[in-house]
């Protein structure tokens, strides 16, 4: 029997359906079939670009969409997508140009304004971000991404009053998982609640939980009965904060509660301002027996009299900003030239595999495989002279322990690291190093090495 091929339009619609449903391989196969017959078809070129981008092939994606634009595809959408792809590639000038073109072609499209705002944020053109998000919000007042981006920008500038309010839009952003299963209980408003338990939920990443754990005593002063829903990994840390009745890692075991609040919502409820950030000193510490065991092990493994520097170069790969905040071990090459220095990698898989390609002068110990939990990491931090890490949970851990750590920040950092300062009001033991230009880890590491030398 001879196969009957569907018309191109029909197949394009099928491809679009596959793409929307996340069936990218099927979409790609159909689109390539179509382009084999009609190589210059603009819409399929554009859609294949989108599919390629979603399959982590941004270079190919950019080339396809550039071709689509040249063939007269839906220009506003193409430029809007190209803006994001260029951003992913670090081609920020081109991203701005594409974003501006998209906005010019579709001035009523808040998504085009959003994409442009993201690029502007990466370039630290914060006035432009505030202007763009304001225009977008005026067009669509419940555009969660724009509201959240505006909140982040204000927070980055230190405007906690307005920023923390907008930060609450974080759970309404497209694709963000809900905080918790549906509940009839109200969100806590910060008022005293003596008669019923308050459920605190560790949202966001591990670092956020460590950072905002400092607010638990403040919440306890208002709600003496607190239970905490958190992952198993965080339990050894949060159990060090006195007061909460229990820690639960399964929703079905969480006891009844009168209200709930994400841990990262506490700064807003407390009315935190830059000058009122709670600074409780070291509030996490390593378990003594574990600390002694790791001290002995490191004494066996590391040369005597060498400065011990812990390093980590990547956070959770699924983090939305991972492309900017994480780097490669190779970026740390300059550290390997420091005399009488031993590097201790606290990096976990999959990025720990990069150690196999390290051939630097300083000894490098791959501790990642042996760090079973945060207790191990804290014990190791106690045996190090310094931690140098990108913005990941380990720096929060070091900060919460009062251990010295240098944080390597992207040009546009997360809001909590603020702007233009090398210290952190959140953690007195941290020193911040900032990229002088987007993605210039090399320049940043030069500064770090100069500070160490």
């Amino acid at each position: 029997m001879t196969a009957v091929t569907a018309p191109l339009d029909e197949r394009f619609e099928q491809a679009r359906t596959h793409e929307r449903a996340g069936r990218l391989a099927e979409a790609e196969r159909l689109l390539r079939d179509i382009l084999a017959q009609a190589p210059e078809a603009a819409e399929p070129l554009h859609l294949l670009g989108v599919v390629s981008f979603r399959q982590q092939r941004p270079v190919e994606a950019a080339a396809l969409i550039e071709r689509a634009i040249a063939r007269g595809a839906n220009l506003a959408l193409c430029h809007r997508n190209l803006c994001e792809i260029y951003r992913a590639l670090g081609r920020l000038d081109e991203a701005v140009a594409a974003g501006e073109q998209a906005v010019a072609l579709a001035p009523q499209d808040p998504d085009a304004l959003m994409n442009l705002a993201i690029v502007r944020y990466e370039r630290l053109e914060l006035d432009a971000v505030l202007d763009g998000t304001a225009r977008g919000i005026a067009l669509k007042p419940d555009h969660a991404d724009l509201l959240f981006k505006r909140g982040e920008t204000l927070l980055l500038r230190g405007d906690f009053a307005a920023g923390l309010e907008l930060y609450e839009w974080r759970y309404r952003i497209n694709g963000v998982a809900p905080l918790m299963p549906p509940t009839a209980a109200p969100a806590w408003d910060g008022a005293p609640m003596a008669d019923r338990p308050l459920l605190l939920i560790t949202d966001q990443g591990f670092g956020d939980a460590i950072q905002f754990a400092r607010y638990i005593p403040w919440a306890l002063a208002r709600c003496p009965d607190i239970v905490i829903a958190c992952s198993r990994e965080l339990q050894p840390l949060l159990s060090q904060i006195p007061g909460p009745r229990g820690l639960y890692d399964r929703w079905e075991t969480v006891p009844n509660y009168g209200a709930f609040c994400p841990l990262s919502g506490l700064p807003r409820l407390m009315g935190t301002r830059l000058e009122t950030i709670p600074s409780p000193g070291a509030y996490l510490r390593a378990e003594p027996a574990r600390r002694a065991a790791w001290a002995a092990r490191l004494a066996d493994l590391l040369p005597r009299g060498y400065r011990r520097i812990g390093i980590a170069w990547g956070g959770r790969p699924t983090h939305a900003n991972d492309r900017n905040r994480s780097t490669k071990l190779a970026s740390f090459a300059a550290l390997a030239q420091l005399p009488k220095t031993a590097l201790v990698s606290l990096q976990k898989a999959p990025r720990q595999a990069e150690i196999a390609q390290y051939f630097g002068a300083a000894p490098l110990l791959n501790l990642g495989p042996e760090l079973a939990d945060f207790d191990d990491t804290m014990a190791v931090l106690d045996s190090l002279d310094l931690l140098i890490s990108v913005d990941t949970s380990i720096v929060h851990l070091a900060g919460a322990m009062g251990r010295p750590a240098w944080v390597l920040l992207p040009y546009a950092p997360d809001w909590r690291w603020l702007l233009g300062r090398d210290d952190s009001p959140w953690y007195p033991s941290l020193r911040l190093f900032r990229q002088p230009a987007p993605r210039r880890w090399d320049l940043l590491l030069q500064e770090v090495v100069a500070a160490l030398s």
Binding site: D300, A349, A356, F359, L364, L365, P369, A372
Partner: protein, 606 residues
Amino acid sequence: MDQRRCDCGSGLRQARCCDLDPASLARPESVDPLLPLLEAAQAALARGEIAESERRCLELLDIAPGFGPALTLLLALRQASGPPAAAEVLARRMVRLDPNDIAATCALAQQLLQRRSLAEAEVHARNAVRIAPQHAQSHNLLGMILTEAHRAHTGEYHYRQVLALVAEPDPTLLANLAWNLKTQGRFAEARSFYERSVAARPKVLQTLLGWARLEEADGDFTAAGVLLDLAEHVAPDDPAPLLARAILLRRQGRFDAALALLDRLAERAEGQHGTDEWLEKGRLLDRLGRPAEAFAAFEAGKRRARETTGLAYQAAAAQALAGRLGGFFTEARLATLPRAGVRGDGAQPIFILGFPRSGTTLVEQSLSAHPRIVAGDELPCVQDIADLCPRLLASPLSYPAALAELWMGDQHDGLDRLRDAYLHRVGQLGILTPEATWFTDKMPLNETHLGLIALMFPAAPLIHLLRHPLDVMLSVFSTHLTHGFHCAWDLESAARHYVLVMELVARYRAEMCLRYLPVRYEDVVQAQAAQLRRMLGFIGADFDPACLRFWENPHPARSASYAQVREPLHTRALYRYRAYLPQLAPVIPILAPLIEQLGYRIEAPA
């Protein structure tokens, strides 16, 4: 009746030799009527009528293929005139028929030693000692095998057993013991045994050559020259003294003279150099700046090695081992395995890792010039432990799967036993001194077993020598090496094995916490003091200036680099590959990714 002669070369019909069904053999007493035929064959041999003796012997064995005395006679004939494979087959059959046959057991061990199947040879030589503990030849064989297997100290014990067993030591035994002591670096003792051997029997070529090599290694070129004069006088037609002379001349820097000598040798042999002669010629041409001719000589040498040994790279076996090791030593599994404790009661190992010709000897000589570090040289102990691991852990599995026994309640301390077995073996080698805090183990390709090493010695320094892969390949190709599944027989197989091992190392490094330090050969020769401080600091030893003058280290190196490390530091071997780029072109695609990963580049000559 199938009249085909057996492929092994015994002269017997195949059905009476390698295809023999043991169940078909007659009972021993039923062959008594054949004794007159045997006596006739023996009498022919006694008269020197070898062909007649052989004919009668073959007839006899065609009637009674399990007739022991006839097999003994045929074995003697095949040992005398070959082929060696037939002698091995016959000895093996005799041992199977009578496991207590001491003569056959010794003959089998001897054959295996000759074809350098040392592990199996050792098994049979040990059996010979078990069968007859007072049998001098058994001890002598075991002494020879252990000496060749880099366990000279244990070999010496067996040679000395022979000395105790015989009233008048054979001069060959004295020479063997002398060679054993030479390999241990005990030059003065070795010299005295050579003197005794030569005094008793002055005209033994092998003795004179061995003694000459001792003097050459000890730097007494004059004495070596005199001994070679004697050797040439004893065997004027033998090529070995001339080759030894050429090596001596090269060490004296007289490259042209050495080359001329080899050319003379080639003329005499009608161009048929052996492997050693070709490789030596290649090295001389390299020193004379004639790379194309040098490489052609290396190629001829390797080709000759393949032809004469019939050996080739065991790619499948190497791949299979790498697959098993990589599959076993994963982060998840390692997290569930114990680690051996660190012993505090004796010298601890420093593992100097690296592909052959990466600079491991140079680093060992430098480090062992330190008063607290002794040189262990190429210790076979890690491989021994890998081989013994199933037995030591009472496992039905082979290594590395046998390490799964560590999960058992009665084996969870098994790594301590493996560690102790390793240290015990090292102790038996006699290299440790009371003042030593560390000893080195520089067996090439020990990095294959990095996982096992790190389980047994989690705190041991692992110093990994890196060198431009093309320089490594060139040097491997210019040297006769047996390491790494015979990969060095061919340039491409050497490159493939190098990549295989480096990939395995990368896997270990990604999955495990290792006390690992990469050291580049290029850095060692260009920034010696800094690199030595770096390595000693890594080990935990104070810097000692003696390490800088490694060539004065009284410990003699025993690897192929023994001569290079007796001369002061030089940089002439740096980036030697540049002159050989056309010849190395076939392996560049294989090595290019690794070259880049290691941070090297491929550069043409300036």
